[in-house]
């Protein structure tokens, strides 16, 4: 079995690219972890679709205020400088290009930047939330994900087979094995785990990985 990053480590790596004073939206679930790994000295401001700017970590158990929740309906706290607003203003922030970064999960990412992350097909109850708004709103849309599915199939594909969330919207993917940019409709490898050969990485990636310049080692702390 191939060595790979934990979800915490992927989240840590994604957090390193968030610049100081950035306005950031983190998708429900796994992407929420990114907030924990803000580099010291950099202040990101987190936006949640349901109407809070600059919320902080969860409260202690038993201290929850259920009017103070994030998009995943988890209790949060406030930081100094926070603001409340209604849903139309919240999505004006999203759609109007005011967020610097959105970091989302993925079922599939295609080499042209297409993202599928809301529906696994006709079974079950479909639910989309704010994902389709985020992918066409934030200045930079990044994905964090395991490099492959639980069945070991590639998630970085030539064309998405699952229902799309957005067209040509993702520009960077942080996976359990690599950091990959999407440029002009192609995957460009930026970083990979030190012990991993390009051939091994390509073997678990459906679309071709281009190398343009040097590929750095993907190094993260133990987390």
């Amino acid at each position: 079995m191939m060595a790979k990053l934990s979800n915490n480590q992927i989240a840590w790596r994604a957090a390193q690219d968030i610049h100081d004073s950035a306005y950031v939206n983190l998708g429900i679930g796994f992407p929420e972890k990114v907030a924990q790994y803000q580099p010291a000295g950099r202040e990101a401001i987190f936006h949640t679709e349901n109407g809070i700017l600059d919320f902080g970590p969860p409260p202690a158990k038993g201290e929850e205020d259920w009017d103070l929740i994030n998009a995943g309906k988890k209790a949060v706290t406030l930081r100094p400088g926070s603001a409340f607003f209604h849903h139309a203003d919240s999505f004006a922030m999203v759609r109007g290009g005011h967020l610097d970064v959105a970091i989302l999960g993925a079922y599939e990412v295609a080499e042209n930047g297409d993202l599928a992350n809301w529906s696994t097909g006709p079974k079950g109850v479909p639910a989309v939330g704010g994902a389709m708004d985020l992918v066409h709103g934030a200045k930079r849309v990044a994905v964090i994900t395991d490099h492959v599915t639980k069945d070991g199939k590639p998630k970085l594909v030539k064309r998405c087979t699952l229902p799309l969330t957005g067209v040509a919207c993702v520009t960077r993917v942080y996976t359990s094995l690599a950091v990959i940019d999407i440029e002009e409709g192609r995957f460009v490898l930026r970083e990979k785990l030190a012990g991993l050969s390009l051939a091994d990485l390509q073997a678990v990636t459906e679309a071709e990985l281009l190398v343009s310049g040097s590929v750095a080692d993907l190094t993260v702390p133990d987390l």
């Binding site: 949640t48 679709e49 349901n50 109407g51 809070i52 929850e64 205020d65 259920w66 009017d67 103070l68 929740i69 309906k73 409340f84 607003f85 209604h86 849903h87 139309a88 919240s90 999505f91 999203v94 759609r95 297409d114 529906s119 079950g124 109850v125 479909p126 639910a127 989309v128 939330g129 704010g130 994902a131 389709m132 708004d133 066409h136 709103g137 229902p163 799309l164 969330t165 957005g166 067209v167």
Partner: protein, 243 residues
């Protein structure tokens, strides 16, 4: 001018069979549980209203509030962005049995369609959902080299809204993230019915901090200690309680 309704039953008396009802809240935050339960009470007593189209971000949780309204069989169709969550069993079962209709709308588009309904904007263009299944059948137009989907306004016969403070003119404030869809729904309904934790005389809310001006509100009813959906669900509450 005094928009205060005597009680919850009076407040929801205007909702008739087949109406479209917007219900505020995002999950439990801002969900007008007491108004919803008053509507269920009326249905249990009189058999009306039923066949409702409900607009909410979610599909309810557990067996209280919106989930209880659906469970009572009063809802024909749901327009929402996220009917999946921790415990949406009630909706899921009816949906899979083909007994409730679902119109799935991206969350920002849902918010903007409601605002458009309130603001007299019959249609607008958004980049959201372009190229996806949710844009199927909708007109697409290119502006400055980028493609956008045309979306229509949403309006309702009635909106059920939860506020923090109301004055007798219907000016409202909200509490924290319980604001969410509530101010938009106030704008988009022919009759907006508000439950507020307190009702103060006109002049009792600083005009600078009014979030919903009274022109968007028709009825207010005092619910001093509103229940929270999460607390009810943690206690495994079922509405109405079976004797």
């Amino acid at each position: 001018m005094d928009k205060t309704a005597a009680d919850l039953a009076t407040a929801v008396a205007g909702i008739e069979d087949g109406m479209t009802v917007m219900i505020g809240g995002f999950g439990g935050a801002g969900s007008p549980i007491e108004l919803i339960h008053a509507l269920i009470d009326r249905f249990l007593a009189t058999g009306k209203p039923s066949g409702l189209t409900v607009i909410n971000n979610n599909a309810g949780n557990g067996h209280v509030g919106l989930a209880a309204l659906i469970e009572a069989g009063m809802v024909r169709k749901l327009i929402c962005s996220f009917p999946r969550s921790a415990d949406p069993v009630v909706f899921t079962e009816l949906y899979q049995a083909g007994r409730i209709e679902l119109e799935l709308v991206p969350q920002g588009t849902l918010a903007e369609r409601i605002r458009a309904g309130g603001a007299g904007i019959p249609a607008f263009y958004t980049p959201t959902s372009f190229g996806t299944d949710l844009a199927k059948g909708k007109p697409v137009e290119e502006f400055e080299g980028r493609s956008y989907v045309r979306e229509r306004w949403l309006k309702a016969d009635v909106a059920l809204v939860k506020a923090e403070a109301a004055d007798t003119h219907g000016n409202l404030t909200y509490r924290a993230a319980a604001r969410n869809f509530n101010p938009l729904m106030c704008m988009a309904a022919a009759e907006t019915v508000v439950q507020a934790s307190r009702i103060v005389p006109a002049g009792g809310i600083d005009p600078e901090i009014v979030i919903t001006p009274g022109i968007f509100v028709q009825k207010v009813v005092a619910v001093p200690h509103p229940q929270q959906e999460e607390d009810l669900n943690l206690a495994n509450a079922i509405y109405p309680e079976v004797a």
